[in-house]
């Protein structure tokens, strides 16, 4: 093998090794950090049981927001058309968090409660995140979903 070929071979082997290491790392990191989105009825149906951390999406039930008297702890209920799930969160809720609005909470189950580490509400108050809408539509295919939360465009 002449020096040029030898050098090229070294480079190719080095690049290949780097690619393999990088791919392995990427796959590992992806597996560790993939969060699935479920609606309350899907969670109650046991679909989320396999995952320690997942995202819970739905509407905040009217009149369900309860604050603690001496800390930042807050509890509320997230509902979809046929299920509900009590959520506990310790922290400050986003600006757009309110009753009858869609939220996505990241966290884990603790008994029958969902303990959230992060709560997101969407910027546009009449806009429901597409992935949440799809998830809810899938959870209740054939069932009626409240039209007012399903509009794509902001009302004039």
């Amino acid at each position: 093998m002449n020096p040029t070929r030898q050098r090229r071979l070294t480079i190719i082997i080095a690049v290949l090794a780097a690619v393999i290491v990088a791919s392995a790392l990427v796959v590992y990191a992806l597996q560790q950090n993939m969060n699935y989105l479920f609606t309350p009825s899907q969670v109650q149906g046991g679909e989320a049981a396999r995952y320690k951390t997942f995202r819970l999406g739905g509407m905040v039930k009217a009149g369900s927001i309860q604050r603690s008297n001496d800390s930042l702890k807050v509890t509320f209920t997230v509902v979809d058309a046929s299920g509900d799930m009590p959520v506990e969160y310790n922290g400050i809720l986003p600006d757009l968090f309110r009753e009858n609005q869609s939220v996505i909470a990241t966290g884990h189950m603790d008994g029958a409660r969902f303990v959230a580490t992060e709560v997101l509400a969407k910027h546009d108050e009449t806009y429901m995140p597409k992935e949440l809408k799809d998830a809810m539509a899938k959870a209740h295919s054939g069932k009626h979903i409240d039209e007012t939360v399903n509009q794509d465009k902001p009302s004039p």
Binding site: V26, D70, I92, P156
Partner: protein, 657 residues
């Protein structure tokens, strides 16, 4: 009537764009100089009409013309005039118009400042830019018309999203678009080179300042966006790995690789095919970024609802640009490829390693960003990829870059000798180790902070050592040409950025607390006293304004006024209060009243101390400055006849390695 004129102007611009994209290309193919000469006037005319359309939309906003749907959706009578101008690019339709306007500005600038380029080559470049313009103008006219009417005309409009009502927002999108669109020049150069089947070093020299400027604009836009997210969103974070942030970050990463690869190609003629490929990627990712932001296909804080026609059009256009350019690359790249060989220890090798790291990082970000779409398409469920994915992989990929960075300027083209490198290794390494040991006493064993200091000193001292070396060895006036000064500035920016990121990430203290008026909370060595809330008003909002007095060991530091604003249509927006400093920021945001009926009572507050966080944007600004300074180098503008006519046809030479 006026909005219809805007529409008409856009249609005329489309006609001229069609002429600009088809005729010069035909001319270049048939060798017809008259057809090639169409490019310049067509580009100028198109720019005039697009500017006219844009001006008409601005005029409609300034005069509250709510009969235009887009104006009615994004402004109202209370909105101050400066935000009415910003509202022009506050949503999808206007953003696209701004994009085309900026594309036209770049095209006209290119047509003006490129008289030294060969006629055929320039004709091809301008016609490629014309094709991109046609794509965007059709997109606007057929799916996203900003001049659509709303009848009957409402008495008042809706509102610009309150999140966007911030000084940072007024210039963040235009600057970012300057960057995105700027990469179209490098793209057009590459396509023209592929079409012509040859690539001259002189042309790459011509493309370089444009790429550097585009990259600098993109850096500036990202810094502005990050700063805006920090100051406005009330979370105190500066980067969230949100899909839209990623969308602007991917072209930036590939841009870093591209400006270095272009340097190699221009100086040495090597890596030509790679440079072309990178410029195709950089622009494709810019397009992807533009569309990801406003198309609504990804769930993100920036995403808007959209209609399906847009998605289909975008997909087709992306497929045309990416697929078409890659096909052309596959067919023609072997013809333009080649160049001098280089040794393992050489500047080319170092740049190539850096290039690989940056492209892999961009690919990693792309995968993480599009994975939810992929999962959706493959029916894997609704997936999101959490920030830790990026947080783990990105530093790992950038570590080799940081370690290699000080050696860069010392390495010679072709083949480098080792002793000079050893000297840098020893000096910068010792400085880094010493500073890390000193830092260890101050940061209470935070490994991340110590690593940050070590890395930053390693890079910073490496750059300074080289500055000193040039000062000693070169005669006055030739020490720091603009190109080199820009490189040193940008590299020094990396050191500042590293300090900012690693120290603020590891040493920040964050507390969410419930506070009654008069209560004191201690955070990071400061005492924050909450003095209750008062009412205040702005041009189009009312707010509850908290008063927080900060002291340090009893000495007064600052009185801060975080706000909770309520805009028209009951939209609530947090406006946090920041007390800036070189070594630390104090950050207070109002959460919510514990009892909505008693706002004078207890509130939830976010209290942060953020050491060195300003250095993050400082580093970014240094990088931006470096890009602009490099772009301004006279060498790029001087015409060299001898070189301009000499095509690289020299056979590949073997080095003595």
């Amino acid at each position: 009537m006026t909005p219809e004129l805007g529409q008409l102007a856009l249609i005329l611009a489309l006609m001229l764009a069609l002429a600009q994209s088809i005729l010069p290309l035909l001319g270049a193919w048939r060798g017809n100089r008259a057809l090639m000469a169409v490019a310049r006037p067509a580009a100028s005319g198109q720019a005039v009409f697009v500017a006219l359309a844009f001006a008409i939309l601005v005029w409609a906003f300034l005069h509250f013309d709510f009969s235009v749907q887009y104006v009615a959706d994004n402004s109202n009578l209370q909105l101050p005039w400066y935000y009415r101008i910003a509202a022009v690019w506050g949503a999808h339709e206007g953003s696209m118009l701004l994009w085309v306007l900026i594309l036209n500005v770049w095209t006209v600038a290119l047509a003006l400042f490129s008289r030294q380029l060969p006629e055929v080559f320039l004709a091809r470049v301008l016609s490629v830019l014309g094709i991109i313009s046609v794509g965007f103008l059709c997109f606007i006219l057929f799916t996203s018309n900003p001049f659509g009417r709303l009848l009957p005309m409402p008495a008042d409009g809706a509102d610009l999203n309150p999140v966007l009502q911030d000084p940072g927002m007024t210039f963040h999108p235009p600057v970012l678009y300057m960057g995105y669109v700027g990469f179209s020049v490098a793209f057009a150069f590459s396509i023209a080179a592929l079409l012509g089947g040859s690539m001259e070093q002189a042309w790459v020299r011509w493309a370089r300042p444009w790429t550097n400027a585009a990259w600098a604009f993109l850096s500036c836009g990202i810094v502005a966006g990050s700063w805006w997210a920090y100051a406005e969103l009330g979370w105190g974070g500066w980067w969230f790995w949100d899909p839209v942030e990623n969308a602007s970050f991917m072209p930036w990463l590939v841009g870093v690789a591209l400006i270095h690869a272009q340097a190699v190609t221009e100086k040495r003629g090597s890596l030509r095919a790679w440079t072309i490929l990178l410029s195709l990627f950089a622009f494709s990712l810019s397009l992807l970024g533009t569309f990801l932001v406003r198309s609504g296909i990804l769930t993100s804080v920036h995403a808007f609802a959209s209609d399906p026609r847009r998605g289909t059009y975008i997909l087709c256009f992306l497929a045309f640009v990416v697929g078409g350019s890659l096909l052309l690359y596959a067919l023609r790249a072997p013809k333009v490829a080649g160049g001098k060989a280089f040794a393992l220890i050489s500047r080319e090798s170092a740049i190539l390693i850096g290039n690989l790291m940056f492209t892999v990082a961009a690919a990693m970000v792309l995968l993480g960003t599009l994975f939810p779409l992929l999962g959706d398409a493959l029916n894997l469920g609704k997936i999101s990829v959490g920030p830790p994915y990026f947080g783990l992989l990105f530093p790992l990929l950038m570590l080799p870059v940081v370690l290699l960075l000080p050696f860069g300027p010392y390495l010679r083209w072709g083949k480098s000798d080792v002793p000079a490198l050893k000297q840098v290794l020893v000096r910068a390494g010792m400085a880094a180790a010493a500073c890390a040991i000193i830092a260890a006493f101050f940061v209470e064993g935070q490994l991340k902070a110590i690593a940050g200091v070590a890395c930053a000193v390693w890079v910073g001292v490496g750059v300074v050592l080289y500055i000193v070396k040039r000062w000693r060895e070169m005669p006055r006036g030739r020490r720091y040409p603009a190109e080199m000064a820009g490189m040193l500035l940008a590299h020094f920016g990396v050191a500042i950025f590293l300090i900012g990121v690693l120290l603020s990430e590891s040493l920040s203290v964050t507390r969410d607390v419930r506070m009654s008026p008069g209560q004191v909370a201690a955070v990071g060595g400061y005492e924050f006293r909450f003095d209750g809330v008062t009412q205040t008003t702005g041009p189009n909002w009312v707010a509850e304004q908290g008063v927080v007095t900060v002291t340090r060991k009893g000495a007064p530091i600052a009185v801060m006024h975080p706000q909770k604003r309520t805009y028209t249509h009951e939209r609530v927006q947090t406006a946090s209060a920041v007390d800036p400093g070189i070594t630390r920021d104090l950050y207070v945001a109002l959460g919510e009243p514990m009892d909505a009926n008693h706002v004078e009572g207890a509130w939830a507050l976010r209290l942060y101390t953020k050491p060195f966080i300003r250095w993050i944007w400082g580093g970014g600004l240094f990088m931006m400055l470096g890009g602009f300074v490099s772009a301004a180098d006279r060498r790029f503008r001087v015409k060299r006849d001898a070189e301009a006519t000499q095509t690289i046809t020299t056979p590949v030479q073997e080095s003595q390695a």
